[in-house]
């Protein structure tokens, strides 16, 4: 319960703690476990009112099969990929540059520009909704993945710049000075010295942005519609509308939609957490 390590406490408390952990976890994840359970139940269980008992039979293959084979979910998933990946690349690239400029150089407007990015990042994005939607319409990018990607890149640049700049700030400035003394051009300093050192930051930011964008719903609804460009978050709602009250399918669909960011988190956990805390904390 405390910064006193359990190892140093009494045996009984150690045992209590060890057994409390899984109980707490199950309680904490109960809603999720329920959904996972739903997703492997046959439809009959629901009409029979068997919501919370064990599945009468394992219907996981069937349910997930229908999600993948009979619905538009694969298409939405693909859209999500095509929205998320370019956004991650774009936002990271842009912010690596802005972060470099703001982290390394001293110039008059440095702090002002930096705060502009930070403030923009804090803005409740609803205020952007009407103009951005209009802008996207005028550019003919409404209901395109490109339109969504462009906006995401621009908006995420605020957060990413905050993150990158603080990271670069923490690099030893002597490295840049050493390179300058050696006659390395500024852009080469960026490319050969700073960028390689930013690898951890880039990894952290990439996973973080990946989850943010993957999970975005608001902008997906504002800037896209329909199967050709909507990501899976929006897709799941139409999927659900289609299978309203078919809890087993809705559950399976939700789980499918949730898996990529969850997988990303597990694979890149270290970077992910570094991203959350580093970006924000500094």
């Amino acid at each position: 319960m405390f910064p006193t390590p359990v190892e140093k406490s009494s045996r009984t408390w150690q045992l209590t703690y060890q057994s409390l952990l899984p109980v707490a976890l199950i309680l904490w994840l109960l809603p999720l476990i329920a959904v996972a359970l739903f997703s492997i139940k046959p439809a009959g269980d629901f009409s029979a009112g068997n919501y919370w008992n064990l599945p009468s039979q394992f219907a996981g293959f069937e349910n997930y099969g229908r999600v993948f084979l009979e619905s538009d979910m694969p298409r939405y998933l693909l859209n999500s990929v095509f929205i998320t990946i370019p956004t991650v690349i774009g936002a990271v690239a842009l912010s690596a540059m802005t972060g470099f400029a703001l982290g390394i150089y001293r110039f008059k407007l440095n702090l002002a520009v930096f705060f502009l990015f930070v403030a923009g990042n804090f803005v409740p994005f609803q205020i952007l909704m009407v103009p951005v939607r209009d802008l996207t319409l005028q550019m003919g990018l409404y209901n395109t993945k490109t339109g969504l990607v462009l906006f995401h890149i621009a908006f995420q640049t605020g957060f990413c710049t905050l993150f990158m700049r603080n990271f670069i700030r923490a690099l030893p400035f002597e490295l840049i000075e050493a390179a300058r003394v050696e006659g390395v051009a500024e852009w080469r300093i960026f490319w050969f010295v700073v960028l390689p050192l930013m690898k951890p930051a880039i990894a952290a930011l990439a996973v973080l942005i990946f989850t943010f964008i993957w999970n975005d719903y608001f902008w997906a609804v504002v800037l896209t519609q329909g199967i050709e460009s909507q990501p899976v978050t929006a897709g799941i709602t139409s999927f659900n509308a289609q299978y309203r009250a078919a809890y087993h399918l809705m559950s399976a669909g939700s789980i499918v939609a949730a898996i990529p960011p969850v997988a990303m988190f597990f694979l890149m956990q270290k970077h992910f957490i570094a991203g959350l805390t580093l970006g924000a904390v500094k």
């Binding site: 000075e177 300058r180 003394v181 050696e182 006659g183 080469r188």
Partner: protein, 353 residues
């Protein structure tokens, strides 16, 4: 010929002036050390020479080129940083060759120069390691190697050894001395370590608050400081300062009433002055009673005896061997009159006799 000449060099940060018009001449091949208290502008001055800080006013020449507004890269200087500033993602070899590569030198030339430098610094074994896999001393050697590779006319060091532990520091100090002998390039070295300054320098520049207090060979500064600041700064433990009064032909020490037969310039007659006396020149006289022993710190071969006179003046005397004074003892002191120095009590300037 690639000495370094500073001509009324001035540096301001905004409205704050940190370097107040420094004139300095460093000869080709000379080993010049900047010392001074923290914040006095040592690093700033070095970085101005390197071109990492703009020079607000005045002129800096390297050899016969005016480099005041030049890019760091074009000045023909290499710099070694306190924190080594090695590129962590490159191997030792790449670190050393990076500058050459970026300036478009052919591979074979780079190879050759890196090999040469690593031979000088005994780094051959480590060429393919990354900095993280090196010890502190090895890292510092690599960073020196990186400086050598470019074959600069002037080497700049900013407290290169202060991140090493005591033992390594001694070792690397000897290494740098050897390197200077071997390469013969001009070297400018910033430190706040007494020992480094005394042992490495051909010429020491003592800075205070952005002003040069004195320039000279180490032993010259020790023996013949221009003012109280330099006298107190060079030598360890620091010189003792006590009050004294100048008479026509004598100087009377306040603490003991002793009269020294020194004739100070007439303006001082009758005035209070500061008398400087190095701990190592004081002998404790158990028969005297002008001082109380406050504390006596014995380090084995040598003891430092802290003395306090009744007028409040304090002295430290260095005592050889294991004669130990006890706290509270009343003692006197003796010293050779010629080891004494006099300073103006206000301006702190040396009063030469």
């Amino acid at each position: 010929m690639s000495g370094v000449t500073l001509n009324k060099a001035i540096k301001k940060y905004g409205d704050v002036q940190v370097i107040h018009g420094i004139d300095l001449e460093i000869d080709h091949g000379e080993f010049c050390v900047f010392v001074g208290p923290s914040g006095c502008g040592k690093s700033t001055l070095l970085r101005m020479i390197a071109g990492l800080e703009d020079t607000t006013d005045g002129q800096i020449n390297i050899g016969d080129r005016d480099v005041t507004t030049m890019d760091p890269a074009q000045r023909g200087v290499s710099m070694v940083f306190q924190t080594y500033a090695l590129y962590p993602h490159m191997t030792v070899k790449q670190n050393m060759g990076f500058g050459l590569k970026m300036n478009g030198h052919p591979k074979s030339v780079i190879e050759e120069k890196v090999a040469e430098a690593s031979r000088i610094l005994k780094l051959d074994e480590y060429l393919s390691r990354k900095p993280a896999a090196l010890s502190g001393g090895q890292r510092q050697r690599v960073s020196i190697g990186r400086a050598i590779v470019r074959g600069p006319e002037v080497f700049l060091f900013d407290e290169p050894l202060s991140n090493l532990d005591a033992e390594l520091r001694v070792e690397m100090r000897v290494e740098i001395a050897r390197l200077h002998r071997e390469i013969g390039a001009t070297m400018i070295y910033v430190t706040h370590d007494q020992v480094e300054a005394m042992t490495l320098a051909d010429k020491i520049v003592v800075l205070r608050a952005g002003v040069v207090e004195q320039v000279g060979a180490p032993m010259d500064l020790y023996r013949d400081p221009d003012n109280k600041f330099v006298a107190g700064f060079i030598g360890s433990p620091a010189m003792n300062f006590v009050t004294a009064t100048a008479q026509k032909t004598t100087v009377e020490i306040g603490a003991t009433g002793t009269k020294l037969k020194h004739k100070l310039p007439s303006p001082y007659h009758g005035r209070e002055i500061t008398l400087g006396l190095r701990p190592e020149f004081i002998t404790i006289d158990p028969k005297g009673d002008a001082f109380t022993v406050e504390i006596s710190e014995s380090l084995g071969g040598v003891s430092y005896v802290h003395l306090r006179a009744d007028n409040g003046d304090k002295l430290i005397a260095e005592q050889r061997g294991d004669v130990r004074s006890n706290e509270g003892d009343r003692v006197g002191i003796s010293f050779e009159p010629e080891t004494v120095m006099y300073f103006d009590a206000d301006s702190e300037a040396r009063i030469r006799i």
